[in-house]
């Protein structure tokens, strides 16, 4: 394998006191200004010494340290990343470190799912008085990284990438394992058909969001129906893209009030949209239906969820081992493999990604007006469908949906290459449930998970 030239390399090659030719590990530290940076200064004023492998970047607060910075540091060739700030309770800005800690908890689980070696990411609380702790942390981290050697799998992301053109093969992996029943037609004289027609004719709603059969392939397709005559075309498919994604369109948002045929997935997604102030619950009429397409009544989205929960068996929370089939079982199978296998699995998947962003388009909650992946000032990650770019995209997507994803599987349904993206989201859903007892979409009044914190959030992995 050809040596890949990475930016951090030059200075450390020169810096290496070890055997010629050996490469010293490169460490990047993100630290807060008030505690750890001051602690590192104190180490200097006290004339303590530590290995020169670390490059420190100062930010005002650990709250400012975006997980994208951490991913970026790895992609720039860091062998280890240290993030450090004030001890809990000591934050100069009251609670930035608590919110950072919540992100680290999620990030660690995400990286673990994808097979990143968690020893490469060190988190610590180091106060302005703890110069000695800074020295010890850097010394130990450098020693450990010297033992582990360079983080080659990460650094070979670009070199090892061989694009693989693949089409979804329908192999069962999580969502695809769900039964594929035929779409149910909405008859005009059925309770749902009558309710829809009545609401549309009486002007209670100006349009109905639902599905109809696509003319050519016969697959269900989202539809916005304004003409009562066209209601006959509606079908209720057991599996189809989440209708709530249509609220990303300004044209759809302007139709008020609007009716939505609401399965559990739509109800959950609309609840998140309400929580994030993207949807006014008073202007949406949810026509709740159960999994078999039976009409359950009219309500606002939170009310519709209650009706569906009452009618259907409640979905168990994403506990490990809570289910032996479907998504959670697929996740369990993945996590049972060794870390290297998980990494290999995801790298194989990443090679299939052509960055068409169908996943982004199909997701009801991937609703940024401009995606971070498309930004060019700064350009955070490669826009091309290459190793580092695809790696970053999958992680950023899953992280931005952590605490928001409702598990509808639309992303995975939409992927033309059959990448089991839903597994990453499932890992995040499980993490969110395990650590914070939180299920997104259940309570539109809840604080956004990543903006919130508890002083007793789990922290044993932080030095």
């Amino acid at each position: 394998m050809a040596e890949v030239h990475l930016p951090l390399q030059d200075s450390l090659q020169a810096a290496s006191p070890a055997v010629p030719g050996s490469l010293e590990p490169r460490l990047v530290a993100f630290v807060c200004r008030w505690c750890t940076y001051a602690g590192a200064d104190l180490a200097g004023t006290s004339r303590m010494t530590y290995p020169p492998n670390v490059r420190t970047l100062m930010l005002p607060c650990t709250g400012r340290i975006d997980v994208a910075f951490i991913l970026r540091a790895f992609l720039e060739g860091a062998d280890g990343v240290l993030v450090s700030g004030c001890h809990p309770g000591d934050c100069h800005y009251t609670a930035g470190n608590y919110r950072a800690r919540r992100r680290w908890i999620l990030l660690r689980d995400l990286l673990d799912t994808i097979g990143v070696d968690l020893r490469r990411l060190q988190l610590a609380w180091i106060s302005a008085a703890e110069g000695a702790k800074w020295v010890k942390t850097i010394q130990n981290f450098t020693d450990e990284m010297r033992q582990l050697g360079r983080y080659e799998p990460m650094q070979r992301l670009a070199a090892d990438f061989t694009p693989e053109l693949a089409l979804a093969d329908g192999q069962p992996n999580g969502y695809a394992a769900l039964p594929a029943a035929a779409p149910v037609a909405v008859h005009a004289d059925s309770p749902l058909g009558q309710a829809l027609a009545q609401a549309l004719q009486a002007g209670a709603v100006k349009a109905i969001l639902g599905w109809k059969k696509q003319a050519t392939l016969g697959r269900p397709q989202a539809a916005c129906i304004v003409d009562p005559q066209a209601l006959v075309e509606l079908v209720i498919p057991p599996r189809a893209g989440n209708l709530a994604r249509l609220f990303k369109h300004p044209e759809i948002r302007q139709i008020q009030p609007i009716g939505v045929i609401t399965r559990r997935a739509e109800a959950l997604a609309m609840n998140v949209l309400i929580q994030e102030k993207q949807l006014d619950p008073g202007r949406v009429v949810a026509f709740a239906v159960d999994g078999a397409g039976h009409f359950l009544g009219l309500a606002d989205p939170p009310g519709a969820l209650k009706k569906i929960e009452a009618a259907e068996a409640s979905v168990p929370p994403p506990d490990p081992g809570a289910s032996t089939t479907g998504l959670w079982a697929a996740l369990d199978r993945l996590m049972a493999q060794p870390r290297e296998e998980r990494w290999a699995f995801w790298m194989k998947q990443a090679q299939k990604c052509i960055r068409c962003y169908a996943c982004r388009g199909a997701c009801p909650l991937c609703n940024c007006h401009e995606c971070l992946m498309d930004k060019n000032v700064p350009q955070w990650f490669p826009t091309a469908a290459d190793g580092p770019g695809n790696f970053a995209w999958q992680l950023i997507r899953a992280f931005h949906l952590a605490g928001r994803c409702i598990g509808c599987g639309s992303c995975q349904e939409a992927c033309p290459a059959g990448i089991p993206l839903g597994l990453l989201d499932a890992a995040m859903m499980r993490s969110v449930w395990k650590h914070f007892g939180y299920r997104s979409g259940m309570d539109p009044a809840a604080a956004p998970l990543q903006s919130d914190f508890r002083t007793d959030d789990r922290a044993e992995f932080i030095l």
Binding site: L6, P7, L8, Q9, D10, S11, L12, A14, A15, S16, P17, R26, V28, Y37, A38, A40, D41, A43, G44, T45, R47, M48, T49, Y50, P52, R55, T56, L57, L59, P60, C61, G63, R64, I65, D66, R72, E76, H92, Y93, A95, G96, R99, A100, R103, V135, E276, K277, Q278, C368, H369, E370, C371, L372, P378, Q379, W380, H400, P448, S451, D452
Partner: protein, 665 residues
């Protein structure tokens, strides 16, 4: 193309010894975008600064990197240098080559390589810097002083004398605080009332001071220069605008047996009362819990007899909001009650009293008219034992600190006792005697040498009553802890000064810090002793920690000077390191979705809503906007923003990514 100037400081030998500074400067010269790079022995010296100023002009530099000590040391210095040469100060960045490079690494080549990497990263970062202008925030030229003790009175008077309007808030019905309760004051033994009462009257009659007694702080909104404070004026059941303070009501009130708080329980008061004859304002309030009218519905004698019909049983709490620019917190302290000391005669013996109770006994206006009498039987005590450090300096019981005032007031108490009771014996049990202060040690020596007070270095272990006296068991700490037994008629505990019981609630309302004991935290223990970490809020007096009167008055005047200094500006200038929601053309566009994840994460409520409308005034969307006056620049909002629509000036995503990318590359 940027033209960056790089200045590598040797810091004498401090950097130069470990880092090859000329080599670093030479490497810097090769970085694209660097127009000028040089090393110099002491860049922070005047010639060093002159060199920077000259280079900025000569090479029309667009950015400045100083590779020197930590930015925590000289960032401000070098930013001023940049400004002096016409370069926006925020285009200057410091590369830390000393504390985090030369001082911590021994290997010269490794340290030099790391220094080059640091410079490279700093150059990349500064190329993304944008000129920032100080933020101007309007200012309300008005102050709120919380607490009407000597600290609050002094601060209010000083601020008002400076020409600024003051609202003086006090939760009791009268000004005065603890100082009004004291008999004489150390080290001069002048009467506390005699020096305090004129200040109270002065504060009440000052044209620039508005007195709000019997009122409490309800909530605080806003930020430095622009606080909105909501005050609760508690129901007094007396219309003070009609009341003349004639005293008919409290003379005729049938409820006469209520323990008087002002007398520390040693005297009695009525249900409608003023705390002391010198009260300012001299107007009564009705104590609802003890008033017969409120308890039984019958009575109302005060209402019938009041010559101005001022009594009003229907009065309710009133709430009102005032705009102020700054706040002085002078809420004082309290002392540990004797019930805390169970080993000292069960904590409820009438002849075991606290220092504050002794003050009332010794006060000419007190319940005994200034004669020292035992509370139990009114006899003159022949032997008094004073127990110092009662509750202080005891890490085991949670208070490791020294209460600071007790050594001096105990010396004073013993002295006053010896003056008032001829032939009486005074013993002081102490760990040691701490008398730093002008004239303080002389005062203590006087107590020992002239007034014959017996000081015993010992710790009181137990006190119990026996035959109408109190037996004080102590350990003689000069004699190997040998048991000491004293028979006393009266025991006075120099009980610890402790924070007000509701100080934490107050601190949370104000958004200021407090330490583990509950004393309010100053911004820096040495250099910013009267400021808090919240801009515009200052501390005065014992709320910050135990203090005697001179220190309290000194700190109050210092806080007043800070207030006047702040309010002497036309408006406020703030460091422009604040978050900003990105806006871009077409006019008023933003990628912000308005999900307000930022608002949920902001510790300062600095995120507001803003409606974007088209040119016809039609609503397009509601997005976030940062109130630069409230934002403290932590950047937590930036990390939770998925669409990266919000950024932190001075630490933008672009700057951080560039710095990261260039680390050693």
């Amino acid at each position: 193309m940027s033209k960056i100037g790089v200045f590598i400081c040797h810091c004498g030998e401090n950097i130069g010894k470990t880092v090859d500074c000329p080599a670093v400067a030479a490497a810097a010269r090769r970085i694209p975008g660097v127009a000028y790079a040089v090393d110099y022995r002491y860049t922070c010296s005047e010639p060093g600064q002159a060199q920077i100023r000259a280079a900025i002009k000569q090479y029309s530099l667009t950015g400045l990197i100083v590779g020197a000590c930590s930015p925590r040391m000289h960032e401000r210095t070098f930013r001023k240098v940049a400004a002096a040469a016409g370069l926006n100060p925020y285009l200057c960045e410091i590369a830390n080559l000393r504390e985090q490079c030369s001082w911590v690494h021994a290997d010269r080549s490794a340290a030099t390589a790391k220094a080059i990497a640091i410079i490279r990263s700093a150059v990349a970062r500064v190329q993304c810097n944008t000129p920032l202008l100080p933020i101007h925030v309007p200012l309300t030229r008005r102050a709120l002083v919380i607490g009407g003790g000597i600290a609050g009175i002094q601060a209010a008077l000083d601020i008002a004398d400076g020409g600024v309007e003051v609202i003086l808030l006090e939760r009791a019905s009268s000004l005065g605080g603890h100082m009004a309760q004291l008999s004489e004051t150390f080290p001069t033994l002048d009467c506390s009332q005699c020096i305090l009462t004129p200040r109270m009257v002065e504060a009440a009659s000052h044209p620039k001071i508005r007195l709000e007694t019997y009122s409490e702080l309800e909530r605080v909104d806003g930020y430095v220069g622009n606080f909105q404070v909501t005050i609760r004026r508690k129901a007094r059941y007396v219309d003070w605008s009609k009341c003349t303070g004639c005293g008919t009501c409290w003379q005729k009130c049938p409820q006469k047996k209520i323990a008087a708080e002002f007398e520390e329980g040693l005297g009695r008061r009525t249900a409608i009362s003023i705390p002391s004859p010198q009260a300012v304002p001299n107007k009564p309030v009705i104590d609802r819990a003890n008033c017969l009218k409120f308890k039984t519905g019958k009575c109302g004698i005060c209402q019938k007899l009041c010559p101005t019909q001022a009594v009003n049983f229907e009065q309710k709490d009133e709430f009102f909001t005032e705009a102020v620019g700054t706040i002085v917190v002078a809420t004082g302290f309290q002392t540990l009650g004797k019930e805390y000391f169970e080993l000292y005669a069960g904590g409820d013996h009438p002849d075991v009293i606290t220092g504050l109770q002794f003050e009332r006994l010794a006060s000419a206006s007190g319940p005994t008219g200034g004669e020292i009498r035992r509370p139990s039987d009114g006899q003159e005590p022949r032997t008094v034992v004073f127990v110092q450090c009662a509750g202080s300096r005891e890490p085991a019981t949670g208070r490791a600190y020294c209460s600071k005032i007790c050594c001096m007031y105990t010396a004073k108490h013993a002295m006053l006792y010896r003056h008032k009771v001829h032939g009486g014996r005074a013993f002081v049990l102490c760990m040691d005697v701490r008398t730093p202060g002008k004239g303080y040690d002389e005062f203590y020596r006087r107590a020992v040498e002239q007034d014959g007070v017996n000081y015993l270095r010992s710790r009181a272990a137990r006190i119990y009553p026996e035959n109408g006296q109190l037996v004080v068991e102590a350990a003689d700490t000069l004699n190997g802890g040998e048991r000491l037994e004293l028979r006393a008629d009266l025991v006075v505990l120099a009980s610890a000064a402790i924070p007000q019981s509701d100080v934490r609630t107050l601190a949370q309302k104000l958004g200021i810090g407090y330490d583990a004991d509950g004393w309010l935290s100053e911004a820096h223990p040495k250099l910013r002793p009267v400021e808090t970490n919240t801009a515009g809020i200052f501390l005065a007096g014992a709320a910050q920690g135990p203090k005697d009167i001179p220190d309290t008055v000194g700190q109050a005047s210092a806080a007043a000077a800070k207030v006047l200094g702040l309010l002497s500006n036309q408006d406020l200038q703030r460091d422009p390191i604040v978050a900003r929601v990105r806006r871009m053309p077409p006019p008023e566009y933003s990628t912000c979705l308005g999900c307000f994840a930022c608002a949920a994460a902001c510790p300062y409520q600095a995120i507001e809503k803003e409606e974007i409308k088209d040119r016809h005034g039609e609503w397009i969307k509601t997005i976030a906007r940062v109130n630069a006056g409230l934002c403290q620049g932590c950047g937590t909002c930036v990390s939770v923003c998925r669409s990266k629509s919000i950024d932190l000036d001075g630490f933008t995503d672009d700057q951080m990514c560039s710095a990261l990318e260039a680390l050693g590359g």
